[in-house]
Symmetry: C2
Subunit: 442 residues, 2 copies
């Protein structure tokens, strides 16, 4: 059989990984693909780096490669958004299959790109765009194809998980843990994409589109990162029996789909609570398979390359199928105010009698039940709360920590507005959502 002719745009870490995997595992890949997967051309906007490209043609004209009739598949790995989008569009419009690891392009432009691929009978593979080595796209679109999905929850940003693990295991501050992540190469110099949740929201956009037929609606996903978390929150959560993880959550409801990215208290014996460091994991609940969990390296040269090459094999052997969104019944993503959740609250308050009672009254008036609370005497607490002091206008204060039962976010917002307005409350309230992962959420 003819080789599958591949052109790669980009020659960064992942692209070099693709070359390594194709070369290192050539015999097995060829056998399983039923034919050779041959990289015939590589284009990179930068000058040719010190990479052995063997026989394949190198150029700096990425647009020409995307438009080339001499390739069967374009592998888009230049990153970024605008040029990458243009390359993907060009190739698909030319009937060339595309494999990409670009989560931003898929999350922001999937609604146009999937129909473009369908119209030109060209495959668009993006397994590498979500959670690196974890075959979550294949599992949603292939292995769980008999099921209706009910909810999913994922640790889908390795940088955030690395930082939270360091804060939790070694009591490091957010800033120290971030510096360490940067030193080890887990975080970029400008980490905001990761630590503010944007990267995770891109990935959740893709998962939600595939799982719940919402379309690719990044703008509708509530997004909150981990940069405001303190070591104290992690410690209080631990005392309450939880760990804090940065989750992407999506859930089918009768009136729409919840989809949100935020720090979350997870019961400490739950599998997701024990996914540490730069690992990713996605837990899926569906109406026949029940709970299934997929875990692995969320990033990295070879894990991401593994997903890219698996997509190429799929194209080579003709088993690639585009996800089939249900265009008849597109469901919309609910606003964050419509969700229901349990909450962790840390309320910096003056250390004087009756404050807890006033807070409890405000919650009670809105039918918000308290599941647990921690209120320490100031003398014992203050030394460990030093990082909070900047919040407070007065040093004679204590944090009131409350875990609530489930309530609508809208009601919680109203309660927090009232609590924040109490003269006893001397700093910003920290509110973190709590997830209990219902076993049966049908």
């Amino acid at each position: 059989m003819e080789p599958l002719k591949v052109g790669i745009c980009g020659l960064g870490t992942v692209a070099q990984g693709v070359l390594k995997v194709l070369a290192g595992n050539r015999a097995g890949i060829t056998r399983r693909a039923g034919r050779e997967i041959r990289v015939v051309a590589v284009a990179s906007r930068r000058a040719k780096p010190e990479v052995d490209l063997g026989d394949c043609v190198f150029s700096t004209d990425v647009r020409a490669l995307a438009a080339s009739d001499d390739i069967d598949v374009l592998v888009e790995l230049i990153g970024g958004e605008d040029t990458a989008l243009e390359l993907v569009q060009t190739a698909l419009a030319n009937g060339t299959a595309v494999v990409t690891g670009n989560k931003a392009v898929i999350a922001l432009h999937g609604n146009e790109l999937l129909p473009l691929a369908v119209a030109h009978h060209a495959h668009l593979g993006f397994e590498a765009a979500v959670a690196g080595s974890i075959p979550i796209i294949a599992n949603l679109t292939h292995s769980l194809v008999a099921d209706e999905l009910q909810w999913l929850a994922g640790i889908i940003n390795g940088t955030s998980n690395f930082i939270l693990s360091a804060m939790c295991e070694r009591g490091e501050s957010f800033a120290d843990a971030l510096t360490q992540a940067q030193t080890l190469g887990y975080a970029e110099a400008d980490p905001s994409f990761d630590v503010e949740g944007i990267d995770a929201a891109h990935k959740l956009t893709i998962l939600t589109a595939l799982a719940f037929d919402t379309g690719f609606n990044f703008g509708d996903i509530y997004t909150e990162g981990i940069s405001r978390l303190t070591v104290e929150d992690i410690e209080y959560a631990r005392q309450l029996g939880y760990r804090i993880k940065h989750l992407g959550l999506a859930r089918r409801r009768s009136d729409g789909i919840e989809a949100r990215v935020h720090p979350t208290l997870v019961p400490n014996n739950h599998l997701l609570a024990n996914i540490d460091g730069a690992m990713n994991a996605v837990l899926v609940n569906s109406n026949a398979a029940g709970d299934t969990l997929y875990s692995g390296a969320g990033a990295g040269q070879l894990p991401t390359a593994s997903a890219v090459v698996a997509d190429l094999v799929d194209v080579a052997r003709g088993t690639a199928r585009l996800p089939v969104p249900n265009s008849d019944a597109q469901t919309s993503i609910l606003p964050i105010e419509a969700i229901t959740s349990a909450y962790y609250l840390r309320i910096p308050s003056l250390d004087r009698p009756g404050v807890f009672a006033r807070v409890a009254t405000i919650l009670s008036e809105r039918n918000i039940s308290i599941e647990a609370a921690i209120q320490r005497e100031q003398a014992r607490v203050q030394p460990r709360m030093s990082s909070d002091v900047g919040n407070a206008s007065d040093k004679a204060w204590v944090p009131i920590v409350i875990l609530t039962h489930t309530v609508r976010e809208l009601v919680m917002n109203d309660a927090l507005e009232a609590v924040q307005a109490l003269p006893d409350v001397v700093g910003d309230i920290m509110r973190i959502r709590v997830e209990h992962f219902p076993a049966a959420s049908a």
Copy 2:
């Protein structure tokens, strides 16, 4: 497009689950499959049960259904071995695709059935045969297709894992935990298939064949169940920082493949140590993706049916591909004596001076290093060791518990023979292998 016409042999729990999933999720399945999946006939050797079969034809002649030209796919769910094998052979020889959940048939006859399927251009799907809802077959043959696998380790028998979890969490004896598993429907009236490791060995045979091109060689897989484990072993393991899990392990070595099923000490912070109850999980290490973990319900009506229907969708949309064994380079499974492992040893010994020294000398003479040991004074130990007393010829005894470093099994066998022959040793030595899951085992 024409419907995919399905005939089901068997009308037990899983078959009824397949009917439920196909009916309950009909719209989504049809959309994703690109055409209707229609059960046109059901055959069961027993009289027709009280199940609504709608329009489809019922008969008691399973052989006739397997040979029928009116079906595109035979779903074999009668269980057992001989008749099931005959049905699968009949259908494949007739060019009819087969989907089965029968691990025994695939493990024992895969070497003939795969070539038969290839020869007649008929698909043979068996996702449901291993680990219920977990798409481990798809992940090995599809998502990890770019990788060379290095090792895998799985909790692949839910009954054994349920029993071990009960022994570990609640201190129950093996017998009590088994009775409980039987009451809850997790274990059969005759549990030997599960608790002696046969079922897990069938599954590991299939995984090893797909991962390491060994062919389906059930007879070469070392198999040991959990029925000899005591609560004391679980407690000593816990003190040493481990949990005992029943694992299927396979590993590529330069001289062959290790493949074995046995109770195993797993570090207690490892993900596999925390897969509890009837859950299954498979951890795979491959040379590009690194470690990936897949977890979910290992059995049950709907989880297993989910896997069966996913295989049907694969056939319906033409994306099903048979695994491609590497017939040029079949590798053989090494005998258990050739493995290397660390070991947990519990040696029932007379409570007199010098016993530990004599045991340590025997190990030392064979270059077996001791990593940790527990030796309690009799007075403190005896009340908790009551279940061991039957082993010993004398009541004045103590268990010596030793954790060794890695050594060849052959050397350990020799050492244990010498230790067992010591006059101080008053009962059978318990030996359990220890797994440390090397991060890099290339």
